[in-house]
Structures are given as structure tokens and as C-alpha cells.
């Protein structure tokens, strides 16, 4: 599981996750992910390279979104593949962390 973070326009952070967001994958990145989420107010989490998602991965995303939200910030998810999106929707996460399929929409949604 890989995590890359970049600052894009206007104080927005894009976090790109790459690999399997299973129990091992979530464990491998949770410290970095939570540190980023704890210090940013506008976060786009790019899931387009995530091939698998289980409940520990959902926990990671939810914990991050709570950290961003507690500071009055916003976090959205970008581009999950259909299987990953189905897990997110089955878990009811899409109502808490909006899912976007185009980068422009995701950026607009978190813009301070």
C-alpha cells in the first residue's frame, strides 16, 4: 500500500492511495494518513488506484474524515472503482464522505 500526498491549488491536499486497503494496507499507512488528515482542512483522497477495500480501510477513511471535519474542514473521495464504491455504499460511507468521479468536482467540494 502506497500513499502520496501533494498540495494542489488553494491549500487543498490530494492524497493518492495505491494498492489494497485491507487490514495490512490500512495498517501500513494509518500513521501518515492520520497525520495528514489531522493537519489539513481540505482533503481529496484519490482512491482510483485502490483495488480492494475492507472494513479496516473504511475505518481509516472515517477516522481521517472525522479529523478533518473536527477542524471545520472537508474531505471527499475521488474515483473509486465500482467494487470499492460498492463497499463504501454498503457501509453507508457515501452519505458521510462524498464520493466524486471527477477531480474538478472533488476540488470544488472541499475548497475552503
Amino acid at each position: 500500500m502506497e500513499l502520496a500526498a501533494e498540495e494542489i491549488e488553494g491549500g487543498i491536499t490530494r492524497i493518492v492511495l495505491d494498492g489494497r486497503l485491507d487490514i495490512a494496507g490500512a495498517g501500513a499507512i494509518d500513521l501518515r494518513f492520520n497525520t495528514l488528515a489531522g493537519s489539513r482542512r481540505a482533503v481529496v483522497v484519490d482512491l482510483s488506484r485502490v483495488s480492494f477495500l475492507a472494513s479496516m480501510g473504511i475505518r481509516l477513511l472515517l477516522t481521517g474524515a472525522k479529523a478533518v471535519g473536527s477542524k471545520g474542514g472537508k474531505m471527499v473521495l475521488l474515483g473509486p472503482d465500482p467494487a470499492v464504491e460498492k463497499v463504501l455504499k454498503t457501509a453507508g460511507i457515501d452519505t458521510l464522505i462524498p464520493i466524486h468521479h471527477d477531480a474538478r468536482g472533488a476540488i470544488a467540494a472541499v475548497k475552503p
Binding site: 472494513s55 479496516m56 472525522k66 463497499v87 457501509a91 458521510l96
Partner: protein, 142 residues
């Protein structure tokens, strides 16, 4: 002819979350024999990760009951997984579904594993056999 497992395949796991990676590789190998679709593999991997991590994180095993035994059998269009452990009786089907959170502040991380298993397996059955728990999950193309 539809690909099938000639006999039931078994994997014995320790009660350790690190074992889940070894299990995932083993499931992939069985899935190749069965020529399973990506969707079926995803559902198998998801439900079995949730089942095993629940047992490891919440199950209390008496001495000698530490092993978890995973068995897989079936054919391309109907795969069955059996998960057995020697922990205290625990029927995941008795756990009510999580209350949907109305806001990110109210959302409680966790408690989703069993809900996902119920939604992604075609059928789930729990049996208590002596001092062992057995969870049976069937997967058919949806």
C-alpha cells in the same frame, strides 16, 4: 466443464492479524484454479478478511483452541467457505446491523465487518459444534 475444486482445500491460521496476508494469497491461488471472476474474488477476500479479523480481534480462545481453520470448496459458480475456530460461542448473525450515522461527527469507526459479510456473501450460516464455532459462507455470482 465448469472449473471446480476436486476436494475441499484447507488452510490453518494462527490467531494473528498478520496471517490475513497469507490467507489472501492462498485465496487468490484457489480462485485461479476455479477461474473465478474478479467480482467473486473480491467478495471472497472481503468476507474472509472480515471473518478472520473478527475472530482474532474479538474471539477469546481457550488454551489449545487458538487455531483457525479455513476450508474452501465448490465450483466456479458456487464457492463455499467454512471458517472454524475454538473460541467462545459467537454467532455473528445475532449482531444487529449498525445504526446509520447522520453526520461525520456522530459516525463511529468500526462495527462494519459483519454487516459487509452479510451483504457480500450469498448466504451465511452459523453453527456451534461442541467447543467450536463454524461459519459457512456461500458465494454465487450476483
Amino acid at each position: 466443464m465448469e472449473p471446480a475444486l476436486a476436494e475441499m482445500q484447507h488452510l490453518v491460521l494462527r490467531r494473528d492479524l498478520a496471517e490475513i496476508a497469507r490467507m489472501a494469497a492462498w485465496i487468490d491461488a484457489q480462485a485461479r484454479i476455479l477461474a473465478l471472476s474478479d467480482g467473486m474474488i473480491f467478495r471472497l477476500q472481503l468476507c474472509l478478511e472480515e471473518a478472520i479479523s473478527n475472530i482474532v480481534r474479538h474471539g477469546i480462545a481457550p488454551a489449545g483452541g487458538e487455531e483457525i481453520r479455513l476450508s474452501l470448496g465448490g465450483r466456479q459458480t458456487r464457492v463455499t467457505a467454512w471458517v472454524e475456530d475454538g473460541g467462545e460461542a459467537f454467532d455473528p448473525l445475532q449482531i444487529p446491523p449498525p445504526e446509520p450515522a447522520t453526520s461525520i461527527a456522530d459516525a463511529k469507526p468500526g462495527g462494519l465487518g459483519i454487516h459487509l459479510m452479510r451483504q457480500f456473501a450469498t448466504r451465511i450460516e452459523y453453527q456451534r459444534l461442541g467447543s467450536r464455532n463454524r461459519l459457512i459462507m456461500d458465494f454465487a455470482p450476483s
